[in-house]
Symmetry: C2
Subunit: 435 residues, 2 copies
């Protein structure tokens, strides 16, 4: 028989990451941790389809060419009655659509988390992917939403990120009402451009921001000074005393920011008035998060804020919310690239039960089953090969314990610690792992 | 300010299911259970991108118009250097591609599970969806793979499905070598058509199968009788004694099936020679699974088998495997539809800590935090509203316990069981939930 089959050698698809089992194990542990923290604060899980109708995306006015549209292979155009579908590019539009669609069935304030892949047809580079997980929490109220939820976000996010063992985390918090209030007090009529420019301050520095404000908004030197002075305010709640409110909006923003800052866990967050977020979507509190010990990770690992109207495009109800989003895969990808992720085990197996002989298979299988019922992850070796071969398998997969069931009816159980080499008698019915 | 914004009322997308939080909670519990069982047998998790290159799918010769191809919105045709991408329609092709691509980095036999969404552009109906989860386990060997893994699958699947509380589960097992051996012994030259026809026996009955075998393969009455007699063999391992092997292939298949049947957990499985699976892909053991107590769920909830060559299209190595796949969302969808799924809680919150007053907020927050550190899922009520209002929130969300922190420095902690109405003193630092 000749073996002339065609081989198509597959290659990685740029921007669509996947991991070896030992890194996937870490990714899973991270996700489990985030989920546990989110649930410990009472956020429930939802999952929406990977796709939305193009009309739903368009209703939000956010359709651009980064969107992936689905097309059935060989299908002649769109089928009758089938809406055009596109992969979602974030979890905010799906949340808005979900809340509008299920409004009568949800209990408000609605606290939900969502950890799904999203897709964007961007040019891929390190940390900028075409398929990636986002991990979002949001709280949605009807007509109004207490500020207590703005104050809760930093606690959740701090606990979530600290548990990943990626060094010191710093949440940076501001309130857009303060800058917008100042802009209004200064008589500037184009607040959108001002916030867009101030948002660049960390990247381009205050001098360039001043130049842009002068050039693009024709601001006076005094006005520019006032804005830059505000943006320079950084520190704990007491730093906010440096701000003198010039109108009711500034006063409101300052009072809100003070409330939030007084509730954050010690050492987790600073007030930082240079944080404005680019999106006009946000109307009050805004968050960014820096990893202080991972200089390779530039930008914010976790951002969000307060918004006035989640789902106005889909339902005639006023639904204010506050939320924050972890750029999960971006974080994981960058940290993996720079060697900050210590790979986990190649297998979840904790104990390999050796197979002494074909005749002893039922007894060895029974041993494995007993250990499994006690909560251990257990493999029974698949063939009665020599012990060296069976131990090699445990070594290759990094299985920490090898279990020797009795080789005959008179024998005893023993267990070998593959790290220390120590071997000792053991009973499958009462065995525990020392931690 | 007028409120004349355009509303686009979203509607469910046919074939793309999503659940309310109380059903999502059950879906998550199911997934957690499956994952736990898979890991307890030493299967590691992998996750592949949602997409594959169209050329990868085409190399397997399985491209048809059910595939969803991605297209960037407004993109003028395919971009230079970008391969055409399509959503995966199963997890077998991605597994084959993954194993070929990472061959040097994996430890064999490679035991993996994979629980991801897949997409098929089929016409949706109950239990046939366009987006659905599959939960697969497979073991891949290099050059050869011991039969012990064929024998392990029923144990894993039985434990996996029994934990979902969906009544009695019956795994039905056969080995294609037996029927193919018989077909060969009978001198029939078109085994593919014979297996395709015998596969329909449960749906159309033996008489129709006989008619088709006569019409399509021109089989003699004796030959048809021999095939139907073989297909009628059902029962535990002892039933296999009714089969008289006519050649080496039948003998081999019979011996393999006996080995597998001798290893299955008591009461979990029967040998059923009418099971052949439609796909030629399978070369030995084949599995289907019936839910005996859910008549609404017709067909197999979990199927699979042994295959000779996983990744021959992508790598010049012989990689035999055995695997089985749970049609997760199909099962969940049908059971939900027929009311067999008891919805879970609307929230993971176990304890609502009430907020007595704005002044007591720091103390109440501290109470919530202490309980959270003890492993409970805890919400602090967001505003110092009257107690009735706060209790209503707990009722609406189905939160089982309401915690009253001291209303002043002299006060004591109390906890109220919302089911029984009983209220009693409690200490956040030592509180436990009686189960």
């Amino acid at each position: 028989m000749s073996d002339k089959k065609q081989i198509y050698k597959p290659r990685p698809i740029s921007g669509f990451p996947e991991w070896l089992p030992e890194f996937r194990a870490v990714e899973q542990r991270w996700m489990d941790h985030l989920r546990k923290v989110f649930e410990s604060y009472g956020y429930c899980s939802i999952e929406t389809p990977a796709v939305e109708e193009l009309d739903v995306l368009a209703a939000k006015g956010e359709v651009d060419k980064e969107i992936y549209v689905l097309q059935r292979l060989h299908a002649e155009g769109t089928e009758k009655g089938d809406a055009r579908l596109a992969l979602h590019f974030d979890q905010t539009v799906p949340l808005a659509r979900y809340v509008a669609q299920n409004f009568g069935s949800l209990a408000f304030p609605f606290k939900r988390y969502q950890m799904q892949k999203v897709w964007r047809g961007e040019r891929p580079q390190l940390g900028r992917l075409r398929e990636f997980y986002q991990c979002d929490i949001d709280v949605i109220g009807v007509d109004q939403l207490p500020l207590a939820f703005d104050a809760e976000m930093p606690s959740v996010i701090y606990e979530a990120l600290m548990g990943l063992n990626i060094g010191r985390v710093q949440i940076r918090i501001s309130n857009r009402k303060i800058l917008l209030g100042l802009v209004d007090a200064l008589g500037i009529t184009d607040p959108v451009t001002v916030t867009r420019i101030v948002d660049k301050i960390e990247k381009i520095g205050p001098q360039s921001v001043a130049d842009m404000l002068k050039k693009e908004v024709a601001m006076s030197g005094d006005a520019i000074d006032a804005v830059l002075q505000l943006a320079s305010v950084k520190g704990d709640a007491s730093a906010l005393s440096r701000i003198t409110p010039k109108n009711a909006a500034m006063e409101e923003g300052l009072s809100e920011l003070t409330f939030v800052m007084n509730a954050v866990p010690k050492g987790s967050a600073i007030a930082d008035l240079s944080i404005v977020r680019g999106l006009d979507y946000y109307t009050g509190t805004v968050y960014e998060t820096a990893l202080l010990d991972i200089p390779e990770f530039t930008g914010s690992v976790c951002s969000g804020g307060r918004y006035d109207d989640l789902a106005g495009s889909y339902i005639n109800r006023h639904l204010p919310g506050v939320g924050i989003s972890i750029g999960f895969t971006r974080l994981f990808d960058v940290l993996t690239h720079y060697g900050h992720i210590k790979p986990g085990p190649k297998t979840p197996t904790q104990i390999l039960v050796v197979l002494p002989s074909e005749e002893r298979r039922p007894h060895a299988a029974e041993t494995a089953s007993t250990l499994r019922k006690r909560g251990f992850n257990v493999e029974l070796y698949h063939a009665p090969q020599n012990m060296k071969k069976q131990m090699e398998y445990a070594n290759k997969k990094g299985i920490p314990l090898v279990w020797f069931p009795p080789f005959d009816d008179a024998g005893k159980h023993e267990v070998k610690d593959m790290t220390t080499g120590a071997q000792s008698p053991a009973d499958p019915a009462s065995f525990t792992i020392q931690s």
